[in-house]
Symmetry: C2
Subunit: 145 residues, 2 copies
DNA sequence: GGATAGATAGAAGTGATTTCTATCTATCAT
DNA sequence: ATGATAGATAGAAATCACTTCTATCTATCC
């Protein structure tokens, strides 16, 4: 993801293009890994000088709102964020490496037939689902994590 | 779920059978809905007299550990718990009514073929997934929520 | 180069969840 | 039944992720 397309996405959402927003997006796109707000802040501080924690939280939340980032769930319920490379507007999920936090986009693995089956059995109308796939990336597998 | 089988599950896990644990399990099995720890506490207090908040959190966490309860995720990230009626040890997910919080068990809707597809495309070894299906139950649909 | 709406830093606040510790009780062995 | 003991509980206090507040800045548009 180039700085230009990040800037374009920000403008499209009515958000100003600021050094902090660009730096946060760049960090997550270049690393490809999920990070907590605290970790993002620590990594950006050397380059940015100052970066408030509330600003870090707000920026990550806004970038997730645009679809540039995604929230990643962890067992300890600490929130983290990762870059999302999915085509805009296309339904998808995320595959997270439990070893290193690397995040990839995957297509939806919840077939319509399953959905209809659930509706028939339960009497519910199914309106959505949240899903996150977990695994070990090639690197982590080789390293034996 | 009878008090006897709850007690048996507790004993099997090396947990003592206490009035508070039985009451929490009973409340959630009888209501069929997801509740926050705070809500569980408020509802149990009239019958139990005193019930500490740390005790409430710990009991819900322990009961979820045995599989009697499941954690339910919400968009606001507030944690809640619901009874789980799945056969022990069988992989499954939960369907949550966004209107009233009613929770049902559903079979896994993530086919092995999809998993292999993901592994081939990404080079990851897929080790698990977290999923929660959302919808509107028959009652809530009729009520027009 | 202003004007202005939006962005940011830092301090303070919030609220869910956990820790701590003294007291209690379910369980098991007399 | 009674006593011993490991585990459970209440209440107070602490923790900590996250948010709010407000004065100061700055990206953007003229
Ligand atoms: Mn995404
Ligand atoms: Mn379950
Ligand atoms: Zn990895
Ligand atoms: Zn409902």
């Amino acid at each position: 993801m180039s700085p230009e397309s990040v800037a374009e996405t920000l403008r499209n959402q009515g958000l100003k293009v600021t050094p902090r927003r660009l730096a946060a997006a760049r960090l997550l796109f270049e690393s490809g890994r999920a990070m907590t707000p605290e970790e993002v802040r620590e990594r950006l501080r050397p380059a940015l000088g100052r970066l408030g924690l509330p600003t870090t939280y707000r920026i990550l939340d806004e970038l997730a709102g645009t679809g540039l980032l995604t929230r990643v769930e962890r067992d300890d319920r600490v929130l983290s964020y990762a870059a999302c490379r999915a085509e805009p507007g296309r339904h998808h999920h995320h595959l997270v490496c439990t070893g290193c936090g690397r995040v990839e986009v995957v297509g939806c693995a919840f077939p319509a037939s399953q959905r209809r089956d659930i509706e028939r059995r339960t009497g519910f109308r199914v309106t959505g689902h949240r899903m996150q796939v977990e695994g070990l990336c090639g690197d982590c597998r080789r390293r034996g994590r």
